[in-house]
């Protein structure tokens, strides 16, 4: 697959190691001295940094981490670093993290590179928010784009299918779980065979989902994008080697953002080649309407042990989802949701491929909220021993496969796991509830 794109050079062209300290000094000096906004002066002014801060990356690491609430709590125009006349559009973060969405300013199209499109894509349906900005980029590359809602019902899926039947896309851009959901509709409509390229964005794609996409779409080219709504949009993508092996890995661009890796619990610097880390973003250009300084993204990444070996060089990264939704945290530790899904997939002898996982917090007798994982499964053939499945999975994670929290406490397992039959109908979600993952044929 030839990759010759506007902007895609970020992930394929060899990168000179930038003088990171010099760039950090520049951005820090800018945010502390600009007349446009007091945001960072109010934030860091009391720390008494010298004019040539930072002198080292160790010194930089001492700068307080920026959280979303720190931004949301400041009036919009007070935290905008360009004149109003230079703000051309507003975006809001997707809300998929469960955090309060942040409205961010953006400059005119072209300042931020649009999502890349592979050469060869001619007709794409996008399910992503903000598609209208990339629509122009795609036209530059000779592609036509249509946009669709994330379907929330069977009627929605039929609508999308009818539109796709008329439009005949060769590429889809959207959430992995959605593309899996639509595959049988597209197949029945006779249009699935035309779809050769899947661009993934909006949520982490698990290995299980990747295998499903490869199977359902007959080995398409999978282009896994990594992006951030708060900053520059897409800043992670595959090189040719990654595409050739149909991997979900990606390189991170260093042109607009510096990415730091920290322990999700302590926020101290950590090595992503050794452990899964949370990322902090710092903008490296002074022209951004909302420059970020050590912004805590909530994204969890792990780096490859060896460098990629592609022309670009550097390490590749794997997404492990989000710190606040792809890990179930409880008193004594953490369960990675992806591992939970793998464990469920390991029960293939009795569990079908249609399942969901949800995490609830429920008030116990003492009034304290405690967590519970509920797996909704469909049997493979005939009946299913739900308790047996629960035990098999729970054993791996040292949690309690029981139905009541009280018993879990008695057995000193602080997180109970329940396995129940799958029923596909609208649920009313309790306030302290989130869906961990969902898989359907």
């Amino acid at each position: 697959m030839h990759i010759g794109l506007y902007w895609f050079r970020m992930f394929t062209v060899p990168v000179e190691s930038p003088d990171m300290l010099a760039r950090l000094r520049e951005i820090f000096s800018f945010v502390m001295s600009t007349e446009q906004s007091d945001f960072y002066r109010n934030r860091f002014g009391y720390l008494g940094f010298s004019n040539d801060f930072p002198h080292s990356l160790e010194e930089w690491n001492k700068l307080p981490v920026l959280e979303r609430n720190d931004i949301v709590s400041v009036p919009f125009w007070d935290r905008t670093f360009v004149p109003r006349s230079q703000v051309m559009c507003f975006r809001h973060t997707s809300g998929t993290s469960g955090r309060k969405p942040l409205i961010t300013p953006r400059r005119a199209f072209g300042d931020y590179a649009a999502a890349p499109t592979l050469a060869g894509v001619k007709r794409q349906i996008s399910f992503l928010y903000g598609w209208y900005i990339s629509e122009k980029a795609r036209r530059i590359n000779g592609a036509i784009v249509m946009n669709c809602y994330y379907p929330e019902s069977v009627e929605d899926c039929k609508y999308v299918t009818a539109l796709a039947k008329r439009f005949r896309p060769d590429s889809l851009l959207g959430y992995p779980s959605l593309l899996i959901l639509l595959a049988p509709y597209f197949k029945e409509a006779g249009i699935l065979k035309d779809i050769r390229i899947l661009e993934l964005n909006g949520e982490r794609c698990s290995e299980t989902q990747r295998e499903a996409l490869m199977r359902l779409y007959n080995n398409p080219t999978v282009f896994n994008q990594f992006s951030s709504s708060e900053s520059a949009g897409v800043y992670g993508g595959p090189c040719t080697k990654i595409l050739e092996r149909s991997s979900l890995d990606f390189h991170l661009s260093g042109e607009y953002l510096m990415t730091e890796f920290v322990d999700p619990e302590t926020l101290l610097p950590a090595d992503p080649r050794i452990e899964t880390c949370e990322t902090l973003q710092t903008s490296l250009t002074t022209d951004q309407p909302l420059p970020l300084i050590r912004y805590r993204t909530g994204d969890l990444l792990e780096a490859s042990k060896e460098e990629c070996g592609c022309e670009r060089g550097g390490y590749t990264f794997t997404s492990h989802g989000r710190a606040d939704s792809d890990r179930v945290k409880f008193l004594d530790g953490v369960i990675a949701v992806g591992k939970l899904e793998e464990a469920l997939a390991g029960c293939k002898d009795s569990v079908g491929i249609d399942y969901e996982a949800h995490y609830y917090e429920e008030a116990c007798e003492d009034g304290v909220l405690r967590g519970r994982i509920v797996l909704h499964v469909a049997p493979k053939d005939g009946g299913i021993d739900l308790m047996s499945v629960a035990h098999r999975i729970a054993e791996r994670f040292m949690i309690s496969a029981i139905l009541s929290y009280k018993e879990a406490v008695e057995h000193r397992f602080l997180l109970p796991l329940t396995v129940v039959p799958l029923k596909r109908k609208a649920r009313s979600f309790a306030p302290k509830h989130k869906r961990l993952f969902r898989h359907s044929p």
Binding site: F90, Y132, E135, R139, N147, Y149, E155, D156, Y159, A162
Partner: protein, 283 residues
């Protein structure tokens, strides 16, 4: 029912009609009007010529094999034919030129000195790109939000100071209710509300100027009204009452032009102040 012209089809409009006939007859990209205009001399076309043509129905467009686009595909953006997601069976693609600008939006921005705008309609309607490009041309910052994000729309209005909103009457009512609760309903100077042509819709009472656009397909406005009932045709279309409904004819070289496109319904009244029309199956 005796045919009435909504407005006099003057010489200038006849000239425009001839250009459209020239444009569609033997168009290299679409054959949808080829048979209808067989034998028609575009150079001498008149209202009588138009009247003699068999009306085109929406079903004719839907069932046409081949594209409806009269321009190369790379010069167009596709639009959809249906307003609702439960009309999948009848969906087909229409289109607009990809340099199309939103006329009423453009005019409102200039007239009211708009500082920021938001559109909140179904993403399936494909209107984000035209809205965005029009706002950019006017140098007005904008946002493309989902019509499902009512609280976020209100938050945007409050945080950023959005003073023009394009949406549907239902969403406008919901957003305005939140703004009233916050005491900031006067922030929005202009509401542009999109309704389906001929579908009876309750237009909410909103502070600020309200423009109701009547779309024959999502994104294709054929006229506006202040009250949601009396449609004043857009300068780009000729609208004429017909037996059993009305017809729409393009007076510009649209990407998908209409030549006496028939919409079934009842014309309640037709005068200089507008046409009151109710489509069949309007609920």
């Amino acid at each position: 029912m005796e045919k009435q012209s909504l407005h006099s089809f003057d010489e200038a409009q006849e000239k425009r009609l001839r250009k459209v006939f020239t444009y569609v007859k033997d168009n290299p990209y679409s054959s949808v009007y080829r048979d209808r205009l067989h034998g028609v001399d575009p150079g001498t076309a008149s209202t009588e010529t138009l009247d003699a043509l068999r009306p085109v129905t929406i079903e004719d467009l839907r069932s046409h094999e081949g594209t409806l686009l009269h321009v190369p595909e790379e010069q167009a953006r596709y639009l959809v034919s249906e307003f609702d997601n439960d009309e999948a069976e009848s969906l087909f693609l229409v289109g607009e030129r990809n340099d199309e600008r939103w006329t009423s939006l453009d005019a409102s921005i200039r007239e009211h000195d708009i500082k920021a705008a938001v559109i909140a309609v179904s993403r399936n309607w494909q209107l984000g790109a035209r809205f965005y490009e029009t706002c950019r041309a006017c140098e007005v910052p904008c946002a493309v939000f989902s019509h499902r994000d009512v609280p976020y729309i209100a938050r945007l209005i409050e945080e950023v100071g959005v003073d023009l909103v394009i949406t549907t009457p239902e969403v406008a009512r919901a957003v305005n209710a939140i703004l009233v609760e916050k005491g900031i309903e006067r922030v929005v100077k202009v509401w542009i509300l999109i309704v389906e042509l001929g579908v009876r819709t309750d237009i909410p009472e909103l502070p600020g100027a309200t423009i109701v656009e009547h779309h024959v397909f999502p994104g294709i406005s054929v006229g506006t009204s202040a009250d949601g009932i009396h449609l004043v045709p857009s300068d780009e279309y000729f609208i004429q009452p017909e037996p059993g409904g009305l017809s729409v004819t393009s007076l510009e070289k649209h990407a998908v032009p209409f030549i006496r496109l028939f919409v079934a319904g009842s014309v309640r009244s037709s005068s200089g102040s507008g046409i009151s029309f109710e489509a069949h199956n309007s609920e």
